[in-house]
Symmetry: none
Subunit: 259 residues, 2 copies
DNA sequence: ATGATATAATACAAAACGTAACATTTTTGG
DNA sequence: CCAAAAATGTTACGTTTTGTATTATATCAT
């Protein structure tokens, strides 16, 4: 006796839920239909959110290992990011308090902060980035403050109302902000709304706002806006930036540093 | 029966997480595939941020080359801590919100939380511990919230006024608290004042306060008090606890669970 | 330091698995 | 019963995974 498609799907969903994962070959064996049908079932169950497909079968939803885009992004244009990070870090004066957001370019700022503090003064670093904390935690002369909030693993960042509330209680000399797109008309943009909100409040509590972005970000427009260009003071980017765009940005009153 | 690539990678990631490190030869032996495949797995897992490759195998990311007192403490009485962690984690019900402090025993609670979520409910975990975040960040069905504050590297914890302010805005079902000393007269004690303060506020915002402490902590008095024994409800400790002390604690109205 | 040995990177081919388009069968509702 | 809809099967082609061979690199004992 052959099952209906619906019954078969129900059984598949149940099995995945119970055992955590199923193999396609094994389903093929128990239900005696072609692989195409099973694949379609898995496709349907996946779009219904009941499971996640993997090569060779399926796993219970939430159990799939998701490639962490943060690490991947760190490896994009590493040379430019490092130069930009070093250039931006050179703007920090001894004794200043700074704010670092959760971008991969900002992480390069953290790793290039001048570690030799002349005199006895030290710097306070406030950040929403778990990666920045990992980078700086063993630098003992530093006041390192992590903004709390919801942990976004794929951005290695904390976001949300707690983060905003924490930010509202402080004032810093400089904020280093990353972005996904930067243009005269659209301002700064980023792919995640909660990260955008954190970035925006950061610009509000800093006396100077410094944006770090490699030249591929210039002229690009991302998903959601952080702030208009009027909300920032300085841009550090690489020398591959199109001169006409740089001129436009400078005309808007932004100091542009090319490294 | 042969595993799929995905399952194998999941198991490798899990093993690294649990044990701290793996050797390539050992993976080769357990999975019965060529070294090339294992190397590829490690490469994929590394770029996903789940581990760090080293010559001959891999180590858990974050735990590499950072010999600090936190890691050292993790290695004290590991068997007891693991049993206590598992016993305490079993108290968590599906859908509850819990609070985890920054102790090494509490970290064991985190790693033993029941990962198979039956039904659709999920758990919210709020913590002041960076180690807990590293432990749980890839468990995607979880709401993970990190309390902000000053980063104390040697305790892998956030402390201070921000942390306290963040805590005051929430209410949770259960709080899991670690300590350095526990006694009927002195209550809970710990070596660091700021950590003590965080612990105290945690006991205030939780409906049930569960202390996890191996038997060596019983009867001991640490530097600064967290709360008196009246501030807690349950103690999970190991079976080596002196019976007379256990009886005394029970007489004070505390539920004692021996594992 | 210097081979000897173990471990790692790279390239390429084979096998397993997945996708998409289209043909065929089964089910469903009038 | 019959047409429409749903489900299933077939085929051809693309992708991922795996294994083998080769070359490079790191570690260790002497």
């Amino acid at each position: 006796m052959r099952l209906t498609a619906h019954e078969r799907r129900a059984k598949i969903a149940e099995q995945v839920q119970e055992r955590g994962s199923v193999r396609l070959t094994e389903l093929l064996d128990t239900f005696r239909v072609t692989d195409t049908s099973i694949r379609r079932d898995l496709q349907i169950l996946e779009s219904a959110g009941r499971l996640q497909r993997i090569h060779g079968g399926a796993v219970a939803s939430g159990r799939a290992l998701t490639p962490n885009s943060f690490n991947a992004k760190t490896r994009e244009r590493p040379a430019e990011k490092e130069r930009i990070g070093a250039g931006a870090a050179a703007l920090v004066r001894s004794g200043e308090s700074i704010l670092l957001d959760s971008g991969t370019t900002v992480l390069q700022v953290a790793s290039h902060l001048p570690k030799v503090v002349n005199g006895s003064s030290l710097t306070t670093v406030v950040t929403s980035s778990l990666a920045v904390v990992r980078e700086l935690e063993y630098w003992s002369s530093l006041h390192l403050i992590l903004l709390g909030g919801i942990v976004l693993t794929e951005f290695q960042a904390t976001v949300g109302p707690q983060t905003i509330a924490n930010l509202r209680r402080i004032q810093v000399d400089k904020a280093f902000i990353g972005c996904d797109g930067l243009g005269v008309s659209h301002g700064l943009t980023t792919p995640h709304m909660l990260i955008a909100e954190v970035g925006r409040v950061m610009t509000e509590v800093a006396r100077q706002v410094i944006v770090v972005a490699d030249s591929s970000k210039l002229g690009r427009v991302g998903f959601t806006p952080i702030v208009p260009l009027t909300g920032i003071h300085t841009l550090v980017t690489d020398t591959n930036a199109p001169p006409e765009l740089v001129q436009e940005i400078r005309a808007a009153g932004i100091e542009v540093i090319l490294v």
